[in-house]
Symmetry: C2
């Protein structure tokens, strides 16, 4: 499982590069930087990002809000607006497209990360491919030995309250195999019961 891919839509190269650098050093991966709406649409198609960071004011271009509408119609992706405090009027218009979050410039790096995470968590609709990735990144970063993809898949089903038999059925494996995976998970998460697994996953998300 790869990291969460973010598309940055920002016409100010300095800002874009800064964000890009910082995100790459954390749970995220920058799938690309778009400087105008045409760029953005192209990259949405080619790079299949998991979320979009979107500057509301693109000097050289039509409104960033138009791009947001485009994303809403053609993709089901969470998008976060970059905006400045002074820009109250566009903010009102921005609210109408219901972004997953706002980040107000100037922002520090902690704010950026936190806002992204919250936005992705809030965007908990049907096709939120980013959320599991986010959880896995955060969990594994806190483990000596990281969970494999399969193990993480099992963990999620544990989290959802599934029984071993149910897990076995949906994954088309035997209960014995489920148990074997569980043992590995318990070992890595330092847990003894499925409830402890749930607690650990929750704790990981809070950090």
């Amino acid at each position: 499982m790869s990291k969460i891919k973010i598309l940055i839509v920002e016409d100010e190269p300095v800002i874009a590069e800064n964000i890009s650098l910082y995100l790459d050093n954390n749970d995220f991966e920058v799938s690309g930087i778009a400087y105008d709406s045409e760029d953005a649409m192209q990259q949405l198609k080619e790079n299949t990002p998991d979320a979009v960071l979107l500057d509301i004011n693109l000097e050289s271009d039509t409104d960033g809000i138009d791009i947001a509408r485009y994303i809403q119609e053609h993709y089901q992706l969470p998008f976060i607006f970059l905006t400045s405090y002074s820009d109250r009027i566009t903010l009102e218009r921005a609210k109408q497209v219901k972004p997953s979050g706002y980040i107000v410039k100037p922002f520090n790096e902690r704010t950026l990360l936190a806002s992204l995470e919250i936005a992705i968590s809030n965007h908990a609709e049907e096709a939120n491919h980013a959320l599991p990735k986010l959880v896995m990144e955060k969990v594994n970063r806190q483990l000596h030995s990281p969970l494999s993809e399969r193990e993480f898949e099992l963990s999620q089903m544990i989290y959802e309250g599934k029984t071993n038999t149910q897990i076995a059925e949906t994954l088309f494996i035997t209960v014995n195999t489920v148990k074997t995976h569980l043992k590995s998970i318990y070992l890595k998460l330092d847990a003894g019961t499925r409830i402890e697994v749930i607690r650990k996953l929750q704790q990981a998300m809070l950090r």
Copy 2:
């Protein structure tokens, strides 16, 4: 188990009454309204509130922050500051006494409730008597048949990941009795396993 008792410290009667009315219609109960620090200290002793809503600027009085310090020293209660956006300077001082939360005037009713709940949840230290009450209020309001106090107590221990045997030991009852209570809980919460109980409690807290 009674509702969460809130002491309001606010010298503007209109505001105080408004808050009072609104809280009484929800998960909270107003234990009293204090108009100055003397009032406040008196009521803290007599009414044993679970949390305090505290206006920073009491015109007629010494600083509301002093009252906060008093609460910290003599009681272990979460307190939430009422403040206005314009009042940045006192806010800086207010941060130093580490309140459980702020509410910025003007606020709407939803904000008030949400802030109170968050504040009480955050104040999750040693002697937070309010948190369980809050959860129970919220859970029971969503049930056809409410949980008894004992059942809620059991639910909490389930939530903490305790096994039936552990619960039996800490409550000085037999495992058989624990199971009997659990059956009632499962019935009322419409759950089949302890993990479902955890999910239901979590869901209830999000509403």
